[in-house]
């Protein structure tokens, strides 16, 4: 039998810049000593279409692709995209999402109960409101804050994330990326603790 592999699915809308965030996660897993595979589709440049990145790590990873029903964590940069990819989630999967909707071209109205539907599907959930990070996190490193938030569900040490951020942040942006990561991580930690308290 193959030993267990941890599966993170990152999803968003074309142009949101999901690739760097998933690179950082994959690098952190590699630095922690795991075998890692990462898969995404570019080209057609996915202009305005859905984008996704699969990251898998563990003792030995064969497939670069996560099957439906197998993702341990879904990180979504848009709420409808989380719902689009929900079938990929494992039964006990956690989710982390940015709550700002982006309307598809030609769609005038979004269902207004996205948050409720997401909460129905995922018990382990972190919801990031743009307003809560807008002041503390510059636009350019927003995805790193989301990665920091999702990191509460990912079994990798903070030192591995820090080292990956140092290795992959564009020149001169490591501090900003690390700060954004920490903001997201802090926000998610508080939410998860509150959730535990309620239960």
């Amino acid at each position: 039998m193959n030993e267990p592999v941890f599966n993170v699915l990152m999803v968003g809308v074309g142009g949101q810049g999901i690739v760097l965030a998933s690179d950082i996660l994959a690098e952190a897993a590699a630095l922690a000593g795991h075998d890692v595979k990462k898969s995404e589709i570019h080209g057609m440049s996915r202009r305005g279409g859905p984008v996704f990145s699969h990251v898998r790590f563990g003792p030995r990873v064969h497939s670069a692709v996560i099957d439906q029903g197998r993702a341990d964590v879904i990180l979504a940069l848009e709420p409808m995209e989380l719902l689009r990819w929900a079938p990929w989630a494992a039964p006990e999967a956690a989710a982390c999402y940015l709550a700002t909707p982006i309307l598809p071209v030609g769609v005038d109205e979004y269902p207004d109960d996205l948050d409720a539907e997401i909460a129905r599907l995922f018990d382990r959930l972190v919801r990031v409101e743009l307003a809560s990070i807008r002041r503390s996190v510059p636009m350019k490193v927003r995805n790193t804050a989301l990665l920091g938030a999702a990191s509460v569900f990912v079994p990798l040490g903070m030192d591995s994330f820090a080292e990956a951020l140092r290795a992959l942040s564009p020149r001169g942006t490591y501090e900003a990326n690390q700060a954004a990561f920490d903001v997201g991580r802090g926000l998610a930690t508080r939410q998860v603790e509150e959730l535990a308290h309620v239960e």
């Binding site: 039998m1 193959n2 809308v13 074309g14 142009g15 690179d23 994959a26 690098e27 590699a30 075998d35 890692v36 595979k37 990462k38 898969s39 995404e40 589709i41 570019h42 080209g43 057609m44 440049s45 996915r46 202009r47 305005g48 279409g49 859905p50 990873v61 064969h62 497939s63 670069a64 692709v65 099957d67 439906q68 029903g69 197998r70 409808m80 995209e81 719902l83 689009r84 929900a86 079938p87 990929w88 989630a89 494992a90 039964p91 999967a93 598809p104 071209v105 030609g106 769609v107 979004y110 269902p111 539907e117 129905r120 599907l121 995922f122």
Partner: protein, 558 residues
């Protein structure tokens, strides 16, 4: 030194560099594009974006004959363009190693068809290697160069979207410049007309040599390091055996870790004895291959019974779940599903794309639009609905010509061809020449955005830069039109943001007889951002404004 995460494309570039490649060339096309972009960062290697794939392959063959290893890259449909030199390059053979990368696109993530280019290896009588991950992509590239020189043949390396764009760990790269193990060839062309000049007499002699070469390669395949058998722990005859290659191998290992596996890295020619022995050692034999039943067909021709396309689809990309289902397993089922339909999110032209006005205008005027490859293919989607045909690179101008020949009079004035600048240079100019030569009528619109945008901003012959963004001459549309003999009144350039001018230009030119060329100038927004970072945006914009000022519609040349 430690392992690194590289995409398959980056790994091919690394492998080529380690093999001491002298020349890298190709034409951009998803999913192949990043190979040359990565290789171009190695100053030891001459790299270029060629005008098209045929040109790239010919440059590569020339480099090989002059004694430098060459890597030529393209997407699967690019091989169709390069097929003419490909089939005869097989007869010429090589001097230094020549490796052709075909990046296939199962599932058609970014392509107009799903052709399986393993057929080209068979048809052109060339060996083909197919890696499963990035480390293999690197190793197989090097093996391909060695095979090329050892057997005097161009060699195919087949990637797919999933191997090209997935990242996996690659062994440490030793510091310093590459140290190819073999003695490098002396540079310089050595005359050998019997081998390099394919007149029929020479071709007939080489034809026999090609067959002998493939027979020798088939023998070598039996022990080639890219082919291996992975036996299970259980003693004696395994119950399930699987023959596979490429990315499906990784899915097989994922879902059937207990199965015996024959992993083929050299997918043409196939190792017959190895396959026969493996088949005899298992009770049930599966062939797990994406797209066409290429391996399966060969097995059946040899009388080896197997389960192939009976169990696995021939259309689209595999997933681990598809492979698991084909092997009789039960894949995981989704447990979470939104309680309402999730609205589709279609790709489209970027918000603010300078060229959206043209499509709106063509739609408003009820034109019949022959379209072309690239971002502008998105003109077919709502809200534009302004494209009626899309076939292949450069087909807009030429299909419009064919339509014009037979269309009834009420349609003839409404036919227009729309093509991007890179595609125009790739194979649109020959179509323009055809129209002029044959005295056709037609309105041909070049949407010039200053780059090859769909594949990620590669320079092209019209853009004033080359690979690596060094300055290059750019073709002057107006001089081209003059050289082709277009009357001054049949040529014009307009600003993509000037909707009134676009509308007027289409009206004016639509009514004129003969070949009409309209160039709509609007710099791609993503390219603009990149140019700004390079401190080149102001200069580029000024040059384009100057061109526009020189060419109002219908002006005299003088």
């Amino acid at each position: 030194m430690r392992t690194r995460l590289l995409s398959g494309n980056e790994a091919v570039a690394l492998g080529a560099w380690e093999a001491g490649v002298a020349v890298g060339c190709g034409y951009p096309g998803t999913p192949s594009t990043e190979i040359l972009e990565a290789l171009s960062r190695r100053p030891e290697v001459y790299t270029e974006w060629s005008v098209n794939e045929k040109v790239a392959l010919e440059v590569g063959v020339g480099a090989s004959l002059a004694g430098g290893r060459a890597l030529v890259t393209m997407k699967h449909v690019g091989v169709n363009v390069a097929a003419d030199p490909l089939f005869t390059a097989s007869y010429l053979g090589v001097r230094a190693g020549l490796v052709v990368v075909t990046a296939d696109d199962p599932e058609m993530h970014s392509s107009q068809n799903e052709q399986d280019n393993r057929h080209y290896a068979i048809a052109a009588k060339l060996p083909m290697l197919e890696p499963s991950d990035s480390q293999e992509a690197r190793e197989f590239t090097r093996l391909a160069f060695e095979l090329s020189e050892a057997y005097d043949t161009p060699v195919f390396l087949r990637m797919t979207t999933r191997t090209s764009h997935s990242k996996s760990l690659v062994a440490p790269v030793p510091p310093g410049a590459p140290q190819p193990t073999e003695q490098p060839l002396a540079r310089g062309f050595v005359r050998n007309p019997g081998k390099y000049v394919m007149i029929p007499g020479n071709a007939r002699r080489r034809r026999r040599i090609v067959e002998d070469r493939m027979a020798a390669l088939a023998e070598a395949a039996e022990n080639h390091p890219a082919n291996r058998i992975e036996l299970t722990a259980e003693a004696g005859r395994a119950s399930v055996g699987i023959i596979t290659s490429g990315i499906p191998y990784s899915y097989v290992k994922e879902v059937a870790p207990e199965a015996a596996v024959l992993k083929l890295g050299l997918v043409h020619p196939l190792p017959r004895r190895m396959i026969e022995q493996f088949a005899a050692s298992v009770e049930t034999l599966y062939v797990v291959e994406e797209l066409d039943p290429v391996i399966e067909t060969q097995l059946r021709a040899w009388g080896i019974d197997c389960l192939g396309k009976d169990a696995f689809p021939a259309i689209g990309e595999f997933t681990p779940a598809i492979v698991a289902a084909g092997l009789g397993g039960t894949p995981a089922h989704p447990t979470k599903q939104a309680g309402f339909p999730v609205p589709a999110r279609r790709p489209g032209l970027c918000a603010g794309c300078p060229h959206d006005h043209v499509f709106a205008e063509l739609r408003r005027k009820q034109m019949i639009v022959a379209g072309d490859i690239g971002c502008y293919s998105l003109g077919v989607l709502p809200p534009y609905d302004a494209m009626d045909t899309l076939l292949d690179m450069g087909a807009s101008l030429t299909m419009a010509q064919g339509m014009d020949v037979v269309a009834p009079p009420e349609q003839r004035g409404r036919i227009a061809a729309v093509i991007g600048d890179s595609t125009f240079a790739h194979s649109g100019i020959t179509g323009l020449l055809n129209a002029v030569w044959n005295g056709r009528d037609g309105l041909y619109i070049v949407l010039d955005n200053g780059t090859t945008a769909m594949t990620g901003m590669q320079p092209n012959p019209m853009s004033g830069e080359r690979l690596g963004r060094s300055d290059a001459p750019s073709v002057d549309y107006e001089l081209l039109a003059r050289a082709f003999g277009l009357p001054a009144a049949n040529f014009g350039m307009v600003d993509a943001y000037d909707t009134a001018a676009i509308s007027e230009a289409i009206d004016t030119l639509a009514d004129r007889p003969g070949v009409r060329l309209l160039v709509v100038m609007g710099l791609c927004l993503i390219e603009s951002t990149k140019l700004k970072k390079l401190d080149k945006l102001a200069g580029k914009k000024a040059a384009r404004r100057q061109l526009l000022a020189l060419h109002p519609i219908g002006a005299s040349h003088e």
